[in-house]
């Protein structure tokens, strides 16, 4: 008993000493950022300051979370027990998996800092140590916890993508974001989010996702995570399994629907049963066994890089076939995720402010935007692409607001409405708005909204009023494209 205690105590001390040593490679990330105002897209919110954590990885770089450095105007790093500020810049950033790599151009920053090695996926119930600068404190903080579970989680930074995530009861607080999670001498994850209302619940990004990101950027540019464009559902009903000619209690999950592009590619079909993804057999509930954890099989779809092929074992027409699916990165759902770092596109004409329909725009309706925003906008964002892909507009455009001026004062519908046509031209992109106004030679401009409502402007007066309106409202340029 005594020996055991001594051993444990020794191990604990060794662990702390090791972590403290590695902690020297954990830095504080101080950020000054400025986010745009999505319904007044030429304006920005006041500059805000925030802080996170980061750690040194190979290649004299610092890894942190994308959300720590999003919209950054200035990034300053602070080393362990070093009072000097070090300016950094974003080298690569992935908003979908919430990771970023920073570079420091000032020589000397990496002197004496060790590269922290990446480990594998930790086991459930194993102990991990988070390390960082929570709550804006200037001293490094260590907290220990166990791995509670490993599963796919929605990554809140982007909002519309799910990746593998590890849950721990180690405290992960604001400021911890971007810091390493250690197991032994290796980094097994990047701390990135908590769940409001759940105590002692934090999440970190596992090394599989980190490695995918680092491998992706190794060629000098970030491509992103490819998607297969399929919706997989469980296949557990005996009748459905018999219908497809499969044993009632066997494995395999069913492709219930396909994205338009996948359907056109023709490699995968509805009612295909996925028996295996890569080397992983797929259970009837759509999960695979990944290092002892049952996780959704989409985890395996996220392993290939852009352009690589993913081998699937498929049950189709009562026989087993192998399919190699080329994995491509798609940006068709970009606007239904949170957007970062690129200020919103807009065009101002006669005081009418046009901007693309995005999730960020509809969120300007307030916290309950789903119940408050125009239903046409919600349908266009979330349902149109699946239901009637032929009618999808590349970039639906909204009239965000109207800057009051005599030329537009008689318009009844002056804001928060989706555009159908302008001067008879169907509006597919913001550029179409510009063309429609600029090419019209009739005495009036006619704007037709999706609701059917019509508003007109006098052509000559609108042209004359435009510079005055831009000047009155302090808009530097009538467009950002």
């Amino acid at each position: 008993m005594r020996i055991l205690f001594t051993t444990l105590f020794f191990t604990f001390l060794t662990g702390l000493a090791s972590a403290a040593d590695m902690g020297r490679s954990v830095v504080q990330v101080l950020v000054y950022s400025q986010t745009p105002i999505w319904d007044a897209p030429w304006r920005n919110n006041p500059v805000a300051s925030s802080s996170g954590s980061g750690f040194v990885i190979e290649g004299d770089r610092v890894m942190t979370n994308a959300h720590v450095v999003s919209w950054a105007k200035q990034i300053v790093l602070r080393r362990f027990q070093d009072p000097r500020p070090w300016l950094a810049r974003v080298e690569y950033i992935s908003h979908e998996c919430d990771l970023a790599v920073l570079k420091v151009d000032t020589p000397g920053f990496f002197d004496g800092l060790k590269t922290l090695p990446l480990g594998g996926l930790p086991k459930v119930q194993s102990t991990v140590l988070t390390c960082g600068y929570p709550a804006g404190g200037q001293q490094i903080s260590y907290t220990r916890g166990v791995v509670s579970r490993i599963e796919m989680q929605n990554y809140v930074h982007i909002g519309n993508r799910a990746f593998l995530s590890v849950q721990t009861d180690a405290a992960i607080n604001p400021g911890n974001s971007g810091g390493p999670v250690f197991q032994g001498d290796e980094v097994v994850g990047v701390a990135f989010m908590g769940t409001p209302g759940l105590e002692n619940t934090g999440f970190f990004i596992p090394s599989a996702v980190i490695n995918h990101f680092l491998e992706d950027v190794s060629d000098g540019k970030y491509d992103g995570f490819p998607k297969a464009g399929i919706r997989i559902v469980s296949l557990q009903n005996p009748a459905y399994r018999r219908y497809l000619g499969l044993p009632v209690t066997g494995d395999g999950a069913r492709i219930d629907s396909l994205a338009d592009y996948t359907e056109k590619a023709g490699l995968l079909k509805k009612d295909d049963v996925i028996l295996a993804v890569g080397e992983h057999p797929v259970g009837s509930d759509g999960t695979i066994l990944l290092e002892g954890n049952r996780v959704n099989c989409t985890t395996a779809f996220q392993v290939p890089q852009k352009g690589e092929k993913l081998k699937l074992k498929i049950w189709r027409d009562h026989k087993e076939i192998d399919v190699a699916v080329p994995m491509e990165v798609r940006d068709d759902d970009l606007n239904i995720g949170n957007l970062y770092d690129a200020p919103p596109r807009y065009f101002v004409f006669a005081g009418l402010v046009f901007t693309p329909l995005t999730l960020d725009y509809v969120k300007t309706f307030g916290r309950n935007w789903r119940g408050v925003a125009n239903s046409e906008m919600i349908y266009e964002l979330y349902y149109r692409r699946n239901e009637t892909p032929a009618k999808v507009r590349n970039e639906p455009v909204v009239l965000a607001t109207t800057l009051a001026h005599p030329v537009n004062a008689d318009m009844r519908l002056a804001s928060r409405a989706m555009i159908d046509t302008i001067n008879g031209k169907r509006i597919e992109t913001l550029e179409d708005v510009i063309t429609a106004f600029e090419e019209n030679t009739k005495p009036q401009h006619m704007i037709q909204f999706i609701s059917g409502t019509v508003e007109c402007l006098d052509n000559t007066q609108a042209k004359l009023a435009n510079p005055e309106i831009l000047s009155t409202y302090g808009i530097q340029t009538d467009r950002r494209l």
Binding site: R242, K270, E387, D410, M411, R412, S451, G452, C456, D458
Partner: protein, 488 residues
């Protein structure tokens, strides 16, 4: 019917500050003209459509000519027993609803026992110019007549919230607690209206001229129900817009942006017509007209101002650079053919349960089971069908509303298998429950194949055909469902 931009629906006519009591008639004894209702009804939950819950409600009515009682239609749907009491106490008499119009929110009730009518006297209704002064709300409470003062606020045409005929209502304020159950609004010796609802201190009153016009029409035996304008318009207040449509030199009118909201209806109106006059009343650029009884109110009311479903309403419009006159036949306020079926009120929910899969028509009643704010709280995709046109081969929709868990339907019990719109069953297009019944009689190679609308969270469900009956019996027993289907 519907307006695309926010409008003030009616003008505000405020009562004069000097209240003078009418001296022309003695105050009647309201005790002989107000009766109390006790209504027992089945309350349905359209999401558990086989479930009936008995509910009782009290309300008030008033004696009218011909030994009849007038009350509001609210609370009469799915009634099982209607009883009436006079004098605020004593014996209850069985009543019979002789006529009800849920769109007009009025009902007439008869009592066959002659003893009921002894000592009762019909009320007199106020004329249009007697509606605004010296208002009181009168009702039975605790065996006594209770009176509370009320103050006229304005006339308003009720916003067509979903599928409703426009209704004129009088807004008044009063501190009477719990009003809105058919109490009488009186002035002097006359009935000004029935109190239909109360929100905060504001009462919505069905005004007497509207009531009288309906009672007269009913008495003539030619009541065809209320009509409504089935088009959508917008104010034509933007001069650039009127110029664009070559409509210059005019001072009023509204722009038509949807000629008809009724599926498959042919309208004499065309897109971008400008409506100048209706039945001789000039329409201003806000869409209001000057009503002789109610002042400035929105033009929707001209669909039921002494007009009835099937009547011709005269329109003066601007089209293709010239004025034209058009006869518009008022459609009946019947929305049962809409893509989201609405009404008629008072019908039991219909459903089909197949292997634990509960199918119901997509209806306003089903959606309103999400509560008063259902247009926001019900599943977005279901509510959005109200903005979509019906397909020719699918004029209405059937929803898989929930799954009653059983070994037969295992794998389909998750939340994502709920509230899906059925497209086809066993290869057959499904518009109504009857289609589904036929489809279930024709399984495909031993399976029942259900395909849901594109974009649904699950697009296909398959069940074993030869086990369906056995599963149905087991599920009915386990969940206490007396009938596995109700089609009418």
């Amino acid at each position: 019917m519907k307006i695309k931009t926010p409008l003030i629906l009616a003008s505000c006519i405020f009562a004069t500050a000097s209240a003078v009591f009418s001296q022309d008639a003695p105050e009647p004894d309201w005790q002989t003209s107000i009766v109390t209702f006790d209504i027992t009804r089945n309350n349905f939950n359209f999401r558990i459509p086989w479930d009936k819950r008995a509910q009782t409600a009290a309300k008030l009515g008033t004696v009218i000519e011909g030994n009849e009682i007038l009350t509001t239609a609210q609370g009469l749907a799915n009634r099982t027993l209607v009883r009436l009491q006079k004098g605020g106490r004593g014996k209850w008499y069985n009543g019979n609803v002789e006529w009800v119009d849920y769109q007009a929110n009025l009902a007439v009730v008869g009592v066959s026992d002659p003893a009921f009518w002894e000592g009762l006297a019909p009320v007199r209704f106020a004329l249009a110019d007697e509606l605004k002064r010296n208002l009181q709300i009168v009702r039975w409470r605790g065996g006594n007549i209770e009176r509370r003062a009320a103050e006229f606020s304005r006339f308003n045409v009720a916003d067509a919230n979903f599928n409703q005929a426009p209704r004129i209502e009088m807004k008044t304020s009063s501190e009477m607690e719990g009003a809105g159950r058919g109490e009488l609004m009186v002035s002097g010796g006359r009935v000004v209206g029935l109190v239909a609802s109360k929100s905060g201190s504001t009462c919505s009153v069905i005004p007497s001229p509207f009531i009288m016009s309906i009672l007269e029409k009913r008495a003539s035996g030619d009541y065809r129900g209320l009509g409504f304008f089935d088009f959508i318009w917008q104010p034509a207040s933007n001069p650039a817009t009127t110029k664009y449509f070559e409509f210059s030199g005019q001072t009023g009118g509204v722009l038509l942006i949807k000629p008809s909201t009724r599926p498959g209806a042919k309208s004499p109106l065309k897109l971008h017509d400008i409506i100048l006059e209706i039945d001789g009343y000039p329409i201003d650029i806000q869409g209001d007209y000057l009503d002789p009884d109610y002042g400035h109110v929105i033009m929707e009311y001209l669909a039921c101002r002494k007009k009835w479903a099937g009547d011709i309403v005269k329109f003066k419009i601007w089209r293709d650079g010239e004025k034209r006159e058009i006869d518009y036949v008022l459609p009946k306020a019947d929305f049962s053919k809409n893509l989201i079926i609405d009404g008629p009120v008072g019908k039991e929910p219909t459903y089909v349960i197949a292997g634990g899969l509960v199918f119901v028509p997509l209806s306003a009643e089903f959606l309103s089971s999400w509560g008063a704010d259902w247009q926001r709280t019900a599943p977005f995709r279901l509510v959005y069908y109200n903005k979509q046109k019906a397909k020719k081969d699918q004029p209405s929709l059937v929803v898989l509303s929930l799954v009653l868990p059983d070994s037969y339907n295992i794998g389909y019990q998750e939340r994502k298998s709920q509230n899906l719109v059925l497209d086809r069953a066993n290869g057959r297009q499904i518009s109504k429950l009857d289609d589904l019944i036929v489809a279930l009689e024709n399984p495909q190679n031993g399976f029942h194949v259900f395909v849901f609308n594109k974009g649904s969270s699950v697009q296909k469900i398959i069940l074993e055909a030869d086990q369906l009956d056995e599963a149905n019996q087991r599920i009915a027993k386990r969940y206490g469902v007396a009938r596995l289907q109700k089609l009418k």
